[in-house]
Structure formats: structure tokens, C-alpha cells
């Protein structure tokens, strides 16, 4: 598989605070990668650097940080409440300079299962539907990589399930997906690879099974316990 995203030795500091320490990894086409770690590990900083919303202090992302190649779904809902679902998607399609914005909006409404709600104002939608619009806005330009910052936070199990069906379908069609989450079980369930970040350092990069093995947990054991063991014993620079 070819790499659709290359992160090379990315570091970021805010004054004295070192948020990321020389993080390197690749994301391949159709691959779903989870970034897990405790609060303040640097997950959001990493995702926003990948999306081009922040610049790294050193290192590089993709092809000189080409933000157009990355669809971004920020942690907070980043849409206009007074606009309808279709109007929000149309606006971002135009801002992303999509060649045929109306076709892209129709396609995205269909894929996200939002066509019946196309003309409803965002402020009248449920949290789950809003988050699907948020993801759809990130995908409107059909980017090869989608970066999602804690996409399922504040969703109920049913809404979460519908959201993951939508994201998995995109991955199945070749989009590389990288997402951050607090819920390590969600990472095991939906990701082929897990990146464990702590204090800005990449402690682990491998499959969920490899993480279990590294932590000395049996294959059907407690994934969260394995994650905590890794945090406790992991080597940090």
C-alpha cells in the first residue's frame, strides 16, 4: 500500500511546553489509524498539524504540509448553525475549490445518509447528525486522508455506530483515516493500527494485537489494561 500521509520527525513546542517530540509515521490508503493517549498527550496538536491548522516547530507532514490533501474534522463542531446541512456543505465545497460543488454536496449527503435532512438548519439536528455533517464537510473535497479529532465524543452508542459505518465506508473506498480518541476500545474495534502518544512522544506504533502482546496481555484480554501498562512502562525521550 502506498503512503497517503507521511509524518516525519514532527515536533511542536509552545514556549517551554514540548507538545510533540519528533513524531514519525505513515498512513496508507484505506488504512484506519487511531491515535490514543491520556489528556495532554499531544493528540489534538498532532491532528491539527496534519490538517495544516498549525505549523510544526520542526519536521514535516505529507508533501510540504499540503492541507488540501487532508480532510479535517476538528474536535468541536465547526459548522454554521444558521445554515442548512446542504448550505454548509456547499460553502465548504466552494471554499475547497471543488470543481463541481453541487455534485459533491449531493454525493456527500447520500454517503452520510443526510439527504432527507439536507434543508434542515444545523441547529435543529441531533448531536449525531451534526457530527456526520461535520465529517461530511471534512470529506467534501474527496481528500486522500481524513483526520478526525475525537469524532465520537458526546455521541450515544447508536449515533456512534452510524458515524463509524460512514467513516468505515470511506476507508473501504481508499481514504486513509487517522483519528484520535480517549476510548481505547473504540481504537481496537475500528483501527487497523494504533499510535500511542504520551507527553508528546510516540510510545507505540502497531496493530491492536501487537499492543496486547507488547503489554503481555492474552489475545482476548483487557485492551485498556494493556494500554495502561504500555503508558507505565513505555520509553520516553
Amino acid at each position: 500500500m502506498s503512503a497517503v500521509l507521511s509524518v516525519r520527525a514532527v515536533s511542536k513546542h509552545f514556549g517551554e511546553l514540548q507538545a510533540l517530540r519528533a513524531v514519525s509515521f505513515d498512513v496508507h490508503a484505506g488504512e484506519v489509524v487511531a491515535v490514543v493517549g491520556p489528556n495532554g498527550a499531544g493528540k489534538t496538536t498532532l491532528l491539527s498539524i496534519i490538517a495544516g491548522a498549525q505549523r510544526p516547530s520542526s519536521g514535516s507532514v505529507g508533501e510540504a504540509g499540503d492541507s488540501a490533501a487532508v480532510g479535517w474534522v476538528p474536535q468541536e463542531l465547526a459548522l454554521y448553525a444558521k445554515l442548512s446541512v446542504a448550505e454548509n456543505l456547499r460553502l465548504f465545497a466552494r471554499l475547497e475549490r471543488v470543481t463541481e460543488p453541487e455534485a459533491a454536496v449531493a454525493r456527500m449527503l447520500e454517503q452520510a445518509g443526510l439527504a432527507p435532512r439536507a434543508h434542515e438548519h444545523l441547529e435543529r439536528l441531533s448531536g449525531g447528525n451534526r457530527q456526520r455533517v461535520n465529517v461530511a464537510a471534512g470529506l467534501i473535497a474527496d481528500p486522500p486522508v481524513l483526520a478526525l479529532d475525537e469524532p465520537s465524543t458526546a455521541l450515544d452508542p447508536g449515533q456512534r455506530e452510524r458515524l463509524w459505518r460512514f467513516i468505515s465506508a470511506r476507508a473501504a473506498s481508499g481514504t486513509g483515516v487517522i483519528f484520535s480518541t480517549h476510548a481505547v476500545e473504540e481504537a481496537r474495534r475500528h483501527a487497523a493500527r494504533v499510535l500511542v502518544l504520551d507527553e508528546g512522544a510516540l510510545l507505540f506504533d502497531g496493530s491492536p494485537q501487537e499492543l496486547m502482546a507488547r503489554a503481555g496481555e492474552p489475545a482476548g484480554g483487557d485492551f485498556e489494561q494493556a494500554f495502561l501498562s504500555l503508558l507505565k512502562d513505555g520509553d520516553r525521550p
Binding site: A78, K82, L83, F92
Partner: protein, 442 residues
């Protein structure tokens, strides 16, 4: 940038209450301020107990001044509540129906007519320091005006008496003899002197004739002296530069400038802060739109809306106040650059604030004092305080806009070009500040 502009117009169109408030509030505030500037203070309610007997007059020479008419004239600057007794007057003050009471004593005519005593009025008042100050200044002003009128009457009576002395005739006082005029005395004496043989009597008559001629000449000057004593100082107004701006048209200019300030600053600040509050700013600024383009779009939208509201307000006011429409091009220039500078100030506030509420509050907290400071006239406060206010007014666009619009509407000085250049510089400076504020995109 046009897609963002379209989006903002769509959102504004759907926020009708917000737009109505955004237009109505500045217009109402501006009109109230304009009304307050163009009108003097309202007349305070004062209870008047006139205890002088009916029909009482003060006689000054041949003139008779009706005391009641004098009292009416004295209190024409207040809203008089007439009462019969001092007790009733005090009750009106205590019940707050009147701000003050004035008692006109029964002996006032006698005292004034005596020529050696002053008439005396009793003032009773209540209320806070501001109200007391208002009543005192209004009554002192009324008394000064009435005294001036009274002294004019005395002066006219004296002038009439002097005329009678000079030209001859009656003094107008009952029973007084008809006088020979002082001017007629020297020729009369000269006729007698022509027949008088030289000697002591002739020398004495010649002295009287010289005195009469001298007295007639100098008495003629006395009328002018009386006039200058009656009103020793008069005001002659000289404007150093520019054209005098009538208070009502200046009030229009101030009201329109305030309206423009509020619309532009609130809309500019709210527009940028809304992007941050909706968490869209980071999504936009990751390459979809540049910071400069975003700020330019927000400030131009705010400026365009402010310009429309301000021009409409100016056109509406011109129905009631005569404005020179041949200068409309200059109005647009002043309003245009003023709105851009206000828009830039607004986006700077929006870029520095974290959400719409904070931005709106900051916009209000900044705008209203700025307008107030720019309207304080020099000399109304201590020099140091005024200099400080002048510096603050210089670094914010309200005063420059006020001056530009005053020059455009009224042809007032300073010239419009300097104010427009000032506004352009301030627009760039606040644009730069907004760019710094937008460095943080979360």
C-alpha cells in the same frame, strides 16, 4: 471571499431580530444623543408664590413697571407652578412636584422703588446636587435677564428725562412744570448779553452762558454713558477659521457618526467572533481563506452595512433639518472612510475576543466612552484631562469621522482631506491589530 460574504449575508438575513436590534439600537441612541445636543436643558418646575398686592407697580421716572408682569418675565425660563402662599410652595417642593420654590415678598416693589434697597426673592429647593445646580443656574440666569430688562427701563426713563432737560418739555411726572431746554439757554443768554452794558453783571451772565453751552454738550453724551452702564459688556462673536456650524446640524453629524460607529463596530466584532465561536475559524484558516482576506471581508461587510444605515439616517434627518444635498459626494466620502475605519476597529475587537458576547460587550464598552470623549469641548475640563482625552480621541476613529462628516455636511473646519487621511491611517492600524489578534485561530 465572496462565498464567505454570501454566507454572512445569508446568516444576517436569517437573524432578523439581531439585524433589527443592530440597526434600531444605534439609530435610537444616535437620535437621542442628537436631540440632547440640539436642545437645551428642559425647564425645571418651580413653585412661585407671588405675595405682592394685585396691581402693584414700581415707578421709575415717568415709567410704571407692573410687578406681576415683572415676576412673569423673571420666571419665563422655568415651568412655573403658581401658588398663593409660602406654605403651599414649600409643600410643592417637599412632594417633589416642584424642584424649587420662589417667594416674591409683598414689599418688593417698595424696596425697589426706594432706590436705596435691593429687592429680595427667597429660593427654597430640594433634590440632589445636580438638580440644585440646575435650579440655581436657571434662576440666576433668569434673574440676570430680568434685571437687565429692568435696568433698560430705568435707562430709558433716565434718557427721557435727559432729553427733556436738553430740548425742553415735560418730565412726564404729574404736576412737574414744563422746562426750557438746556440747549436753548446759551442763545437766550447771548441775546440778553447783547443788550447788557459791560460790568460785573455782564461778566456773570457770560460765565452762565459758557456753563450752559458746556452742560448741553456733555449732557448729550450722558445717554451713551447710560447705555454702557446698563449693559457694560456685549458679546461680539468672531470665528477664527471655518464656517460656523449650527447646533442642530452638528447634532445630526454627531448622531450619524455615533450610529455609524455602533453598526460597524458591533457587526465587525460580531462577524469575526462568530467564526471563532462556531469553531470554524481554524477550519477556514488552514488554507481555505487567508487571514487578511477574512478580515477584509468582515470589515468591508460591516462598513457597507454601516454606510447604508448612516446614509439612510442622514437622508431621513434631512427631511427635518436643512442639509445641502449638493455636498452628498463629500458625505459619502466621509461616511465611506469612517465606516471602513470603524469596521477595522470592529474586526480588531472581534479578533481579540473569544466569543460574540465578549466581543459585543467590548465593542459597547469602547464605543460609547469614545463618542463621549470626542464630544467634550475644550475648556470644559482641565487642560491635562482634555489633552489626555484628545490623545485617546486621536488614536480611535470617532473624532476623525465626526470632523470629516462635519466638514462634509457643514463645511466646518478642519478641512475634510486631513480627516479622511487620518481615518485611512487608523483603518490600516486597526487592520494590523486585527491581523495580530487573529494569529491565534482556535
Amino acid at each position: 471571499m465572496r462565498w464567505l460574504l454570501g454566507k454572512d449575508l445569508l446568516i444576517l438575513g436569517r437573524s432578523r431580530l439581531l439585524v433589527a436590534l443592530l440597526v434600531a439600537y444605534p439609530v435610537v441612541i444616535a437620535l437621542l444623543m442628537g436631540f440632547a445636543i440640539s436642545r437645551g436643558p428642559s425647564r425645571p418646575r418651580v413653585a412661585i408664590a407671588d405675595q405682592t398686592p394685585p396691581g402693584q407697580v414700581v415707578e421709575v421716572g415717568s415709567r410704571r413697571v407692573d410687578v406681576h408682569a415683572y415676576v412673569r418675565r423673571l420666571f419665563s425660563q422655568v415651568k412655573a407652578i403658581n401658588v398663593a402662599t409660602r406654605k403651599q410652595a414649600v409643600a410643592k417642593v417637599k412632594s417633589a412636584e416642584a424642584l424649587a420654590a420662589v417667594i416674591v415678598p409683598p414689599d418688593i416693589a417698595t424696596r425697589v422703588a426706594s432706590g436705596i434697597n435691593q429687592g429680595q426673592l427667597e429660593l427654597i429647593y430640594n433634590g440632589d446636587a445636580l438638580q440644585q445646580s440646575l435650579v440655581q443656574s436657571q434662576l440666576r440666569s433668569a434673574l440676570a435677564q430680568a434685571n437687565l430688562g429692568f435696568s433698560e427701563q430705568i435707562q430709558q426713563a433716565a434718557a427721557q428725562a435727559l432729553d427733556a432737560l436738553l430740548r425742553g418739555g415735560s418730565l412726564g411726572v404729574a404736576g412737574a412744570p414744563r422746562l426750557i431746554g438746556l440747549r436753548q439757554v446759551p442763545p437766550l443768554l447771548r441775546r440778553i448779553l447783547a443788550r447788557e452794558p459791560p460790568g460785573t453783571d455782564r461778566q456773570a451772565l457770560e460765565q452762565v452762558e459758557r456753563f450752559a453751552a458746556f452742560a448741553a454738550q456733555n449732557l448729550d453724551l450722558s445717554k451713551k454713558v447710560l447705555a454702557s452702564v446698563g449693559q457694560p459688556i456685549r458679546i461680539k462673536s468672531v470665528l477664527l477659521h471655518g464656517r460656523r456650524t449650527p447646533l442642530d446640524t452638528f447634532a445630526v453629524v454627531a448622531a450619524v457618526s455615533l450610529s455609524l460607529l455602533l453598526v460597524c463596530v458591533l457587526l465587525g466584532a460580531g462577524g469575526v467572533a462568530l467564526e471563532r465561536e462556531e469553531h470554524v475559524l481554524a477550519r477556514l484558516l488552514r488554507g481555505l481563506v487567508s487571514r487578511e482576506a477574512l478580515l477584509a471581508q468582515k470589515s468591508l461587510l460591516a462598513a457597507a452595512c454601516g454606510l447604508v444605515v448612516a446614509f439612510a439616517l442622514l437622508a431621513f434627518v434631512s427631511i427635518f433639518v436643512a442639509l445641502d444635498w449638493s455636498r452628498a459626494g463629500l458625505w459619502l466620502a466621509a461616511l465611506g472612510l469612517g465606516s471602513v475605519a470603524f469596521g477595522a476597529l470592529g474586526v480588531a475587537i472581534g479578533a481579540l475576543a473569544r466569543d460574540v458576547r465578549a466581543a459585543s460587550l467590548l465593542a459597547f464598552l469602547l464605543s460609547l466612552p469614545l463618542a463621549f470623549l470626542a464630544l467634550v469641548p475644550s475648556g470644559a475640563v482641565a487642560r491635562g484631562v482634555y489633552d489626555t482625552m484628545a490623545v485617546i480621541s486621536f488614536v480611535f476613529p470617532f473624532k476623525a469621522c465626526l470632523q470629516a462628516l462635519d466638514a462634509a455636511v457643514n463645511g466646518a473646519s478642519p478641512a475634510i482631506a486631513g480627516s479622511l487621511a487620518h481615518l485611512a491611517v487608523l483603518a490600516l492600524a486597526f487592520g494590523g491589530l486585527a491581523r495580530l489578534g487573529l494569529q491565534r485561530s482556535d
